[in-house]
Amino acid sequence: MPVKLLIQLSWRNIWRHRRRNAILVSAIAVAVTGVMLLNTMMRGMQQDLRNTAIENLTGHVKILEPGYLHDPGIERGFDILEGWQNTLPDHVAGWASRIRVPGVIMSERGTRGIQLVGIDPARESISFLGQAEVAGDRLSGPEDSRILIGGLLAEALDTAAGRRLVLVTQGADGRTREAGFRIAGVYRAEIAGLEKAFVFTGLAALQRLLGTDKITEISIRLDDEDRETSTIAALAETFESRAVASWRQLEPQAAAMVEVSDVTIYILFVIVMGALTFGLVNTLVTAVMERLRELGMLRAIGMRPRAVVAQVVVESTVIMAIGVAAGLILAWCVFSFVADGIDLTAFDDSLASFGMRPTFVPVFDIRDVALIAVLSLALSILASFYPARRAVKIKPLEALRR
């Protein structure tokens, strides 16, 4: 039996009971809208978590000395070979080499533990620092021996750009280094925690202070996240003796949250749509029972049982497809109102502890649309099993005798 004919028949039969089907279709549409909008929130949150993880000096991939993660320090530094960047694989958007050591910063007002990071400011476009607002000066280059501190740290230490602070850290020889630094500028970060954690200075200047020419990390940002795995494999070859860690390993909490929300999307969809599937089964059974005579007559004039099954399956799929399409369109309309982002500044503090930014940007992912479409198609076929069984069991004679 031609599919076109089946669809035409289903379409008309759906219209024959338009009120009943309109209710079902609306329920499906509302459910799909809800699920899809929640998905955009989830995807937005995931992207936020990922970006935050990547921008807080992690990058997609980081090259470290093995063991640095468990015991960071200057003794786990390594030399960069001349011309190493020529061996970088494709899809690398940028990289930055840094030296990072734990340290203590002091003013007359207080003392704080921080991460002292030596950077080449020109390379930091790959991290949050590239976009950060700075009151005062930025670092001029790797030789700049001034420091850049976060806004919250500046408040805590009651200091400002142009003033001096004392930093204590351990040199390459194991002895303590203590030095005064002038504050070039005070940066602001979207994630408040960063402002308390990182103090930046020029890479070469810090190496000189510590008495080393090594670095402790190379952070790499990719331009295609889907190639993460293959790029990591390529980098692992280039840096044989180093540890090549993805952001997932470096920020396990954020990675776990991204994964959990992935699963949540599936569960949510299955629960909501699963409930509606029962409604669909019910409608289809009703439709079959109403059409007993008609289906019996069709069998009598020579329609094969297979075609009867196909009719029920197609009808189920058509109802589902209309509902899903309407739901997705509705979701897109709602989404386009908030696509630019939702201002969450009112909740800033609690959200920041989750590693989220104050402006929340939902993400309408076409893969979620495909996922919903495929899953609901599967559900509609599943829903038609029982009604279709009922329909093929109709004996033409019994149906005609009624």
Partner: protein, 227 residues
Amino acid sequence: MERVVECRDVGRTYDDDAVPVHALRNVDFDLAAGEWVSLAGPSGSGKSTLLHVIGGLDQPTAGSVVVDGVEVTALATAQLSDLRLNKIGFVFQAYNLIPVLSALENVEFILQLQGLDRAERRSRSRDALHSLGLADVEHRRPGEMSGGQQQRVAIARAIVTEPVLLLADEPSANLDTSTTRELLEVLQTLNRERGVTILTATHDPMVMGYTSRQVNLRDGKVVRDDS
């Protein structure tokens, strides 16, 4: 003459209940091409059962039924579907048509089941409807037609496939006298001018007046065959 139907010693017993019901008993019945035969007999005499057995809708419990050279009792479900689709035209008492399709679409439907292409379907369905005087109602749905028109559309659908046999079970049961007469005229024309072989089951004496031969059943047996 060529035999379209040959029933030999056909029996149909229902034994779902405590007492078995013999709907047909030792029925011998032949139908030659071009005949119009009416099955008559009181209610419960087995008219419908014989019609169904011949049409491949019901399987006899004894004997053999050959339709157009094919032993019907040997066929599986799907083959029976194909037999009904390709060789038999059915007109039932009621509920012949698909309510959501127009008259033309209803007639076309069976050609679609046969897998004919669109152009041929259209022209054959139109021809069938026009030959039965239904040109005006071809775009109406069953609910928008009179009972007589609906039955004529059912006949159009039954003959559009050019079956070897047209089976009609009480086609006029729901129609008034003048509509019945119109319907019978249509069947007569088909029978006489196009040589369609017809088997009708009916209580209606008016129907019997039109047919070329009458077979009477009683308690599942052929009691009179006036050939």
